[in-house]
């Protein structure tokens, strides 16, 4: 036990934020290899990338943040932060990296990229962006978007986002993503030209589906429930954690007052003076140690936040399934009703109430030619409907299969990442205790010399 702890305490620094399995943002993605779930792209759009790009190892980093002013869409002056994205290709032979691309992007462009990915890959749990506005802050941290600490944490979050996308077997091959990293000018236009906004499902439609769908895949229902609970519990956790940080900060900082008063007291003492004075110094050290401790904890909070936002992405996939399922159920219903109509017209029996039936009763039966025409139209529609149903079914099944594959991938990633985060949190606690013991032991020694 002792051995284990000393090994671990050697790595007291919590693990830096990095996606599953890829240290330093390296990506090795030869096109042929990552084949799972990789067949589909959004229909009709050329999103395959050039093979060459991905055969080399690449490193992505968001290396800088810069405050800028410019004119926005309504021609008003605004201040925003731009982030420098650098892409390096790593030569296999000597491991040296060469800067291949470097450009500046602002947060809204990241958002655009993500929205695009959400629409075009609805079966994928799309990695989340870092929060737009600072939430779950405790008093010392600023909630101001321009605050340098916030900007720094956001820079790390954006880098993490790109690394997540780059390490996803499907998303990494998207052309728009590639262009995001490589094409500075006109990228926005290029994205918009894909017309992805048209493909986006309306919120209303999605909500409607959620309530009306009769037979969704049970696994998705459970998953949706899980993601709701996960969101709720992580939010709660982060809120309380912020309050805990606040209180802990208070405890440590008040100890700093001991430093001052011991110093003043030592001035009137003869033999006790030195001991008091030096003990006071240790109290100052203790009080200032909390700053680093809480900074480390902030990284932990950010790791939890990522999964809080991931829960939303998970729910989005579930919603898409519900939508597709609802669509399917509607199509089945529609087909059934058309078939019935057809049958009624053919046999002349009216089983169900229809306006046509009413008018026929009132105004007399229509002519046989009209009836024939109507039957023909219906038969065409039925045939079309059957085709559509077939393809919808296929689509639905494909969706479920692919989504579930990505969900499994996500689950593993989540378990791995959060387990690491929790361990590093425990390590942080151990480190905090060790520092505390050290300081108080030093103070005790000073007191003993009084």
């Amino acid at each position: 036990m002792e051995q284990a702890s000393s090994d671990l305490e050697g790595q007291l620094q919590p693990a830096p934020l990095e996606p599953l399995g890829y240290a330093d943002g390296e990506l090795e993605a030869a096109v042929g290899e990552k084949a799972e779930g990789a067949q589909e792209e959004s229909s009709g759009l050329d999103t395959m990338t050039e093979n060459n790009f991905w055969l080399k190892k690449i490193e992505i980093s968001v290396s800088e943040a810069e405050k800028r002013t410019g004119r926005n869409a309504v021609n008003m002056q605004e201040t925003y932060t731009a982030y420098l994205i650098e892409t390096r290709s790593v030569e296999h032979a000597d491991g040296q990296s060469v800067l291949t691309d470097s450009l500046w992007r602002r947060y809204s462009e990241f958002e655009l990229l993500r929205n695009y990915l959400l629409v075009c890959y609805p079966h994928i749990v799309v990695p989340p962006l870092p929060e737009k506005r600072a939430e779950f802050v405790w008093h010392k941290l600023s909630a101001d978007n321009m605050d340098p600490d916030f900007v720094e944490r956001r820079r790390i979050g954006l880098e993490n986002f790109l690394l997540r996308v780059a390490s996803h077997p499907t998303l990494c091959r998207d052309k728009i993503f590639y262009l995001f990293l490589t094409q500075e000018g006109n990228w926005k236009e290029t994205v918009n030209e894909t017309g992805f906004q048209l493909k986006a499902d309306s919120r209303l439609k999605a909500l409607n589906a959620t309530f009306r769908v009769k037979n969704p895949d049970k696994r998705f229902t459970e998953l949706k429930h899980y993601s709701d609970e996960l969101q709720s519990v992580i939010s709660h956790l982060l809120r309380v954690r912020a309050r805990v940080a606040d209180r802990l900060y208070g405890v440590y900082k008040v100890h700093g007052n001991y430093g001052r008063v011991f110093s003043e007291w030592s001035a009137i003492e003869k033999e006790m003076g030195d001991g008091l004075q030096s003990a006071g110094h240790h109290m100052d050290v203790y009080a200032s140690s909390i700053d680093d401790i809480l900074e480390d904890e902030e990284h932990y909070a950010d790791q939890l936040k990522e999964y809080l936002f991931y829960a939303e992405a998970l729910r989005a996939v579930c919603r898409k399934h519900e939508l597709m399922q609802y669509d399917l159920e509607m199509a089945v219903q529609d087909l059934a009703s058309k078939k019935q109509q057809c049958e009624e017209l053919a046999t002349g029996t009216v089983r169900t109430f229809s306006l046509k039936g009413m008018t026929t009763k009132l105004f007399g039966q229509e002519a046989p030619e009209q009836r024939e025409a109507r039957i023909k139209v219906l038969e065409e529609q039925i045939s079309e409907g059957e085709q559509q149903l077939k393809s919808k079914n296929l689509e639905g099944r494909e969706f479920v299969k692919n989504a579930w594959a990505d969900i499994e991938r996500f689950k593993e990633q989540k378990n791995h990442d959060l387990k690491e985060a929790l361990i590093s949190y425990a390590v942080m606690q151990i480190s905090m205790c060790k520092k505390g013991i050290q300081v108080w032991t030093n103070a005790k020694e000073c007191f003993s010399k009084m």
């Binding site: 702890s5 309050r243 209180r247 208070g250 405890v251 425990a426």
Partner: protein, 433 residues
């Protein structure tokens, strides 16, 4: 009770102080016994140990001993505690065993006072009596009255706000017991106060109330005379050392007050931190119920936080029960010392006034009138007592604060040691899973 005339303080003898070696002088290790002559060191030691000297009322052996106590076995018994100031102790007093008494008129707590001594002033080698707070209060007043030139240790605060503090809670009673124990021990350690008649009665009398009602006045000449010193004399010049002591005590009390406020603030913040932790831990458990693989590490974190809460509560309790009361005691101590200093000033002022008056009445010269001489004696003896007591006080203060602050550091070290056990377990469990 030992018979004989009431013991007079050595310093109040007819001789000028300058002629006699001060009993508390550094080289001497004797205890002030009293009497007109300087006791020899050998005689004192013999007195300490020889219980053959004890005149027992029943003529039998002292209670509690199996055989006529020989010097050597007594010596063994007495060397339980460490030697203090190079002296071997012959008086041990302890306060323990608090008990609640419920009577028709009131409810109160008594404490058992156990005394072990070989001093001649005590008829028996061992005593066990029960006393309540008011008895301690009485003792302190009596000591102040009868030994006005000495620094009397403080008592824990008399009044507690009813409804805010539970007078009968275990913690309160224990805190008080410790303070009362400290009070008696400080008197025990004092070479003059420990021989005070009232102290003896307090330790030994079966019925203290009866004694109190008798109101036996055992005032010494100095006590009597100092008591009658009225105010209204203006002090010419305070000797530097007493001025310095006064300034020191002012700043000292100020700094202690600040430390008390800081400590209270820390406790308050820690309690608020505790409140948040109590909500924080269970959230991890809630989360753990949703998960599969993550359930164990999440429960682990929950356990860490729970453990931290427990340790924190212990820390804040310790601070409240052990640290704050001692600080407050010392603030009270400084306050009472300041009043003794004031009295000294008064005695000196009176002397100066008399001296001035004498200078004006030319006919008295060169013979100095008796009352002026008496005043001079008073001043000198007061100064000597106070100086000696201050030195003693400074020493004790240093030890007390060393102990107090080391204790504070210890409690915090123990807190962190307790807290880091759980995360250590979690981490090793997870990495070897």
């Amino acid at each position: 009770m030992a018979g004989g005339p009431p013991k007079a303080l050595l310093s109040s003898g007819p001789h000028s102080l300058r002629d006699m070696p001060h009993p508390l002088a550094v080289s001497s290790s004797e205890e002030a016994v009293g009497g007109d002559s300087t006791p020899s060191p050998d005689l004192l030691v013999a007195r300490s140990f020889g219980d053959k000297d004890l005149i027992l009322p029943n003529g039998g052996t002292p209670a509690g001993t199996s055989s006529p106590a020989s010097s050597s076995s007594l010596l063994n018994r007495l060397q339980l505690d460490d030697e203090i100031d190079g002296e071997t102790r012959d008086l041990f007093v302890t306060v323990d065993d608090p008990k609640k008494h419920v009577c028709t008129m009131e409810t109160y707590i008594t404490y058992r006072i156990t005394t072990k001594s070989t001093r001649v002033e005590f008829d028996l080698p061992e005593y066990s009596v029960r006393r309540r707070y008011q008895d301690f209060d009485w003792l302190r007043s009596k000591l102040e009255e009868s030994q006005p030139t000495h620094l009397i240790p403080p008592l824990p605060e008399k009044f507690v706000v009813k409804g805010v503090v539970d007078r009968f809670s275990e913690e309160f009673v224990e805190t008080r017991r410790k303070a009362l124990d400290k009070f008696l021990k400080r008197i025990t350690d004092h070479p003059v106060l420990s021989f005070n008649e009232h102290f003896n009665v307090f330790l030994t009398a079966k019925d203290l109330n009866a004694y109190r009602k008798q109101g036996i006045a055992l005032l010494t000449r100095v006590g009597e005379s100092v008591k009658h010193v009225t105010g209204g004399y203006k002090l010419r010049s305070r000797p530097l050392e007493f001025a310095a002591i006064g300034e020191y005590l002012d700043t000292f009390a100020l700094k202690l007050g600040t430390i008390d406020r800081i400590a209270q603030r820390i406790i308050k913040e820690e309690i608020e931190y505790l409140v948040e932790l109590r909500e924080y831990g269970p959230v991890y458990s809630t989360w753990s119920a949703l998960e599969g693989e993550l359930a164990e590490p999440l429960e682990g974190v929950s356990a860490c936080i729970g453990n931290c809460s427990t340790a924190l509560e212990e820390l804040t309790d310790d601070m409240t029960e052990d640290f704050l009361p001692v600080l407050r005691e010392y603030i009270l101590y400084s306050d009472s010392m300041k009043s003794v200093l004031k009295k000294r000033d008064q005695v000196q002022a009176e002397y100066e006034a008399k001296l001035e008056a004498m200078a004006l009445r030319k006919e008295d010269r060169p013979k100095v009138p008796a009352d002026v001489e008496k005043c001079q004696d008073r001043v000198e003896c007061f100064n000597a007592d106070l100086k000696a007591d201050m030195e003693r006080w400074q020493n004790n203060k240093r030890q007390d604060f060393r102990q107090l602050l080391m204790g504070l550091a210890d409690k915090n070290i123990q807190y962190y040691e307790k807290v880091h056990v759980e995360p250590l377990k979690s981490v090793s469990r997870c990495t070897y899973a």
